[in-house]
Amino acid sequence: MSKVVIKAEDISKQYRLGLVGTGTVKDDMKRWWYNLRGKEDPFLKIGEANDRSVKGESDYVWSLRDINFEIHQGDSVGIIGRNGAGKSTLLKILSQVTQPTTGKIYTKGRIASLLEVGTGFHPEMTGRQNIFLNGAILGMRKHEIQRKLDEIIAFSGVERYIDTPVKRYSSGMYVRLAFAVAAHLESEILIVDEVLAVGDAEFQKKCLGKMNDVSKGEGRTVLFVSHNMAAVKSLCTKGIVLENGKVVFGSDAESAVNYYLTNASQVKDTSIADRTDRIGSGAIKVIGIDLINQKGEIVDQVISGDWLKVRLNLNINLGVIDYSKLFVGIALRDQEETRVVSFFSDEMGTDFTKFKDKDYIDLVIPQFNLRGGMYDVAFQLSLGSTRVDDFIDGLEKAMNIDVLPGDFWKSGKLNRTGNYAILTSNFEN
């Protein structure tokens, strides 16, 4: 087993809600009074788990509560969780931007953190000058930067503009240059926030590749926070799932991502009828989606290759709808939120007049050719055109479809799992 390079012991972080500044003098006095008498800080006893959706009783919340973990040298660890789960707070503490309220983190080796690319870039200075400044901010010595200057410039791909003030750069060039500096840090531990959300696809790939080299090739430790589950899966070896300031799961990256997707995703929380994150006029509202098998039974799971009917149950709110102008789209996405298949009624030339007297719309899929795995369903209903302005109802992640591997080929073998399709085919000569 390789040695532990980061060890967190009971890390907690408390924040005060509301208008920072009001009443702090009073609380400060109280703290001071307690400290004077050698008592524990009275505000450490109160505070609640940081659950955004519930209105709290106290002004103090625990953004992180009793976090414990160990990270070994050479690990690349993905930290995942919903917004507000405490990921950024944890990174801030690790980067020493702020202090934990309680607990200790022991570290070995130099830590470089990348909570943002291009910190300290000055628009009036040239690319070259900014490389030095940014590098120094990130903790490099001047001679180290000098030694790597050519490499950094080459990696950034902005050689031509290197002596131009960065205010003349496109945002893409700016990010490239900034990441290039960070990627060449000589640190044993690298902490990366979602800085890769910017930049074009080609450069993102390059960054991910570089990070891969960093952790796998050079034996460095990488901590990576992202919402991009595909990136976490491909980059990280370990995964930590945070929920409401607590570590709820820690294991290899693959299982952590799966845990997060099945437990932390929004889909399970509310029924479709109660969801408020929908778009459209609401003239028709989808209040439920049923999966129906060939026998007419409502099912929870689908077997790969089976016959399937997807029924959208409707609540018609507004008088008469011209069904001949109705368009329906249904799309399935994989766990990395990549669209796998979609069904558009305008492509199919469907006239919905035949559903005029019904309070549902059925989509029949004679062969459900997706491999075993979890998919989510998005739908859109629109009137007149498929433009967003004409939406009457639309919802993403409306529900999950759990697909079980089936014997698609009738060969007696279950086909492999994976978030992609199977096409009817044959090896022939």
Partner: protein, 286 residues
């Protein structure tokens, strides 16, 4: 490198924790980041007055206009004493030194708020930033001081002032000014992160403090009964020095620098300790 041990006795390079000693100042880290200090100062040099029409001329315009105003208002209208020195150089001596002090103090006391963006994203020893401010402001001070020297040279050649060898001590006095402004600034900066109203108070306070310092009047003009009050102000010795060394007026001896020197080091030490305590959590309150 310093070693840390956890409960199990394992050795670590570094520990992040809530409770640290007040005197764990990590000055070694500041030294490690000395290149950053140089680069920040260079950034200030390179970028100041970019895209302004008059550029570095602003360095001259401000002290000249202030000197003219002071000469007219305090010298001619109010008829304040200048200990017999020509009014223009007398006021200029005060303004040059005072500008440096007030610029440093204002910037250092606002250091957390003006750098919240960068402080919130990356760790480097926060003390680098106040140091940068104090050093960068030397540039402006240098230009204004040159202007002052030109006037001193002119009046000296006219025989109206008696500059003497004490001027060799100027660097010491400037350093004391830097240390005092940084020390006070550090203490104030820590307070402004929590109580924002202080920002208003500081601008106002500095203005008032100028009148409490012998910038527009010689300290000798203060009635004898109140001399001790005026001399509580550590800046008095420094202004007296400027007048005595360059203009040959007022009272000054080496012991006049004793109090400012002691004050400077005490206030810097207190400032650094307070600043260090604040920098650990200021991101939560700023």
């Amino acid at each position: 490198m310093k070693e840390y041990n956890d409960a199990g006795g394992a050795e670590w390079d570094h520990v992040i924790q809530s409770q640290t000693s007040l005197f764990d100042l990590r000055l070694r880290e500041v030294w490690h980041y000395r290149d950053l200090l140089v680069l920040f100062v260079r950034r200030d040099f390179v970028t100041v007055y970019k895209q302004t029409i008059l550029g570095p001329l602003w360095f001259f315009i401000q002290p000249i206009l202030t000197t003219i105003t002071f000469t007219i208002i305090f010298g001619n209208v109010a008829q304040l004493s200048t200990d017999g020195a020509p009014k223009v150089v007398f006021y200029m001596a005060g303004i040059t030194l005072w500008n440096y002090f007030s610029n440093c103090l204002t910037s250092v006391s606002g250091v957390f708020n003006s750098n919240a963006g960068i402080f919130g994203k990356v760790y480097f020893p926060r003390l680098i930033m106040p140091l940068t401010i104090v050093i960068s402001n030397l540039m402006k001070f240098g230009v204004q001081f040159l202007l002052f020297l030109c006037f001193v040279g002119y009046f000296f050649s006219q025989g109206q002032i008696q500059s003497n060898l004490w001027i060799l001590l100027t660097p010491v006095v400037v350093i004391l000014m830097a240390v005092i402004s940084m020390g006070i600034g550090l203490i104030l900066s820590s307070m402004t992160t929590k109580y924002k109203d202080l920002n208003q108070l500081i601008g106002f306070g500095i203005q008032l403090f100028m009148y409490a310092s012998p910038v527009i009047y010689p300290s000798s003009s203060v009635p004898t009964d109140y001399q001790w009050v005026v001399h509580l102000n550590p800046l008095v010795g420094l202004f007296d020095f400027m007048r005595f060394a360059y203009l040959g007026v007022g009272n000054f001896s080496l012991t006049s620098l004793l109090y400012p020197t002691c004050f400077a080091f005490v206030i810097l030490a207190v400032g650094v300790v307070v600043f260090n305590k604040t920098q650990k959590t200021f991101m939560d309150t700023v």
